[in-house]
């Protein structure tokens, strides 16, 4: 038994007091969760995907329950990067936790403009979202072909003004290692994965799709086996830090991602189910480390005996 295992990690130069990051799109800009716990308990917060202009998103219904998971088709509803910088970032940057800005564009130019605007801000890291399955243009279209991943990463990196850049990869691909390599070659400082898997649910009684958008992104425990495999493959393909996610509901789930090679992890759907999920996951991870007699969480990273 270890008394107080160290949970601190560093992801491409950004220190985090623990490896637990609130995933993009499930934590808003943090404001809704302040009444549930102090935000500084998190390793970092990744904000809702930001676009250049405000975005309305897709029509409702936008959510469907599926076996051990959920589909969402929010479609990047957000107030735009300017409103983020003006109305939300100041408070968030003072909250005592690292801030990651998730950025999404329709075109490469848009991605670059957003990155440039954020590069002079107080955000600690950029996360390039080229894997949103819920928008017609941009999003996942950039994320499936290695050449386009490389190209967009390179262009955005140039505009990021020294802010570390994580590239968020899409699971809707046949070779995640290849995409990871492309991101690294484009200059990514880290990769994060997985975004949601495109899926669909049917209301058989009414013979209609449940989601107004027909398809949506599948998240939650259902996709965890796929996420673990992709993190494992990506972490073997590249040496830059990997941030893993997909269906993490407990500290042991988080440990599995670290064992597969993730340096830190994000929690999305678990927060949708319970606002305090991240806090519980950190506590459980700490207990797991104690039970395993591991003094430093970094010792887990990639330690899978396979």
């Amino acid at each position: 038994m270890v008394d107080r295992p160290s949970l601190a990690v560093e992801v491409c130069g950004v220190p985090m007091k623990n490896p637990c990051i609130a995933a993009s799109g499930t934590f808003g800009f943090g404001e809704e969760y302040q009444r549930y716990f102090p935000l500084h308990k998190l390793g970092a917060i990744c904000v809702k995907g930001l676009t250049l202009e405000p975005r309305q998103g897709n029509p409702p219904p936008r959510i469907a329950e599926t076996p051990s998971g959920m589909l969402n088709s929010v479609g990047l509803q957000n107030p735009g990067v300017r409103a983020f910088l003006r109305d939300h970032l100041p408070r968030l940057a003072d909250s005592g936790t690292a801030v990651i800005a998730n950025i999404a564009g329709n075109t490469a130019e848009e991605y670059c403009k957003i990155a440039a605007m954020l590069s002079k801000s107080r955000v600690d890291m950029l996360e390039l979202n080229i894997s949103c399955p819920n928008v017609k243009e941009g999003g996942v279209a950039f994320g499936t072909r290695p050449e386009s991943v490389l190209e967009i990463t390179r262009r955005v990196k140039t505009e990021s003004g020294g802010k570390p850049l994580a590239v968020k990869l899409s699971p809707n691909t046949s070779d995640i290692g290849e995409t990871a390599l492309a991101a690294r070659e484009g200059g990514a400082d880290a990769i994060s994965l997985i975004n949601t898997i495109t899926g669909m649910a049917v209301d058989v009684k009414n013979m209609r799709p449940v989601l107004a958008n027909v398809t949506g992104g599948l998240s939650g425990p259902a996709i965890r086996p796929v996420a673990l495999r992709m993190v494992y493959e990506a972490a073997r393909a590249v040496t830059i830090p990997v941030i893993g996610m997909g269906g993490i509901m407990s500290g042991e789930d988080a440990a599995a991602f670290l064992l597969c090679g993730a340096r830190a992890f994000m929690v999305g759907t678990a927060t949708v189910v319970s606002p305090t999920a991240c806090v519980h996951i950190v506590a459980e991870l700490e207990r797991y480390l104690k039970e395993q007699g591991i003094g430093d969480v970094n010792a887990l990273v990639g330690a899978l005996k396979a």
Binding site: G28, E32, Q56, A64, V74, V273
Partner: protein, 257 residues
Amino acid sequence: MGLMRVVRNRPLSDGVFELELSAPPEVLGAAPGTFLHVAVGGGVFLRRPFSIHRTDPQDGTAAVAYAVRGEGTRVLSQTKPDTVLDVLGPLGSGYSLPEGARRVLLVGGGMGAAPLLHAAQFLKGRADCDAVLGFASASYAFALDRFEACCRSLRAVTDDGSLGVKCSACDAAARLIETERPDAVWACGPEGMYRAMQGLGCFRNLVCQVSLEERMGCGVGACLTCSCRVRAGEGWEYRRVCADGPVFPLGEVVFGG
């Protein structure tokens, strides 16, 4: 947020159940029209939202009334007393009494009666309240005795005439507005009822608040899955049913699409 013990879980009418929970002070003092977000257990993944139906601060209990629709409410209906449920709430922004309002008319359609009892409880001592409740059929009506205990008057109507007159809650309410001249209408019912109300001048000419439903994720305003359309400028914008609502001014809601 917290763990709440099931005190009772019993049928109220055909397919409608009442779940009574041992509730903390913030739920006992919740605003009318707010809701609880219930993890029903049994492998059901997401929480299910239910309006607060009534509270009993003396007993320290709060209840929701729910119709069995799908898997979540089926599991809930089988929950035994003393089960401890993980319940979030009270959540959302509920009905509000306009400054100086003396008379409130409650208009419920079907399960929409659920939050209105809590509203009637809330209004006691604050304003007079009359209730119009419409049901598909007498067998679905519930909580009428409790409404009678809290309201100045109760009019129950049905689609098939098996209880009260055969008419819609909307039409019955419209008639009452003419005679009783309430200062505000608090309504809860299906979209069709609201559309009908929007079509009638009498509802447009007074403060009329309606409670919306949408499929939900977090329930706290972060995931943006529970959108409804609300008038903004020339057009409309999406608002969150869970955090900006569930109660909105009738005139601002944009239906269909």
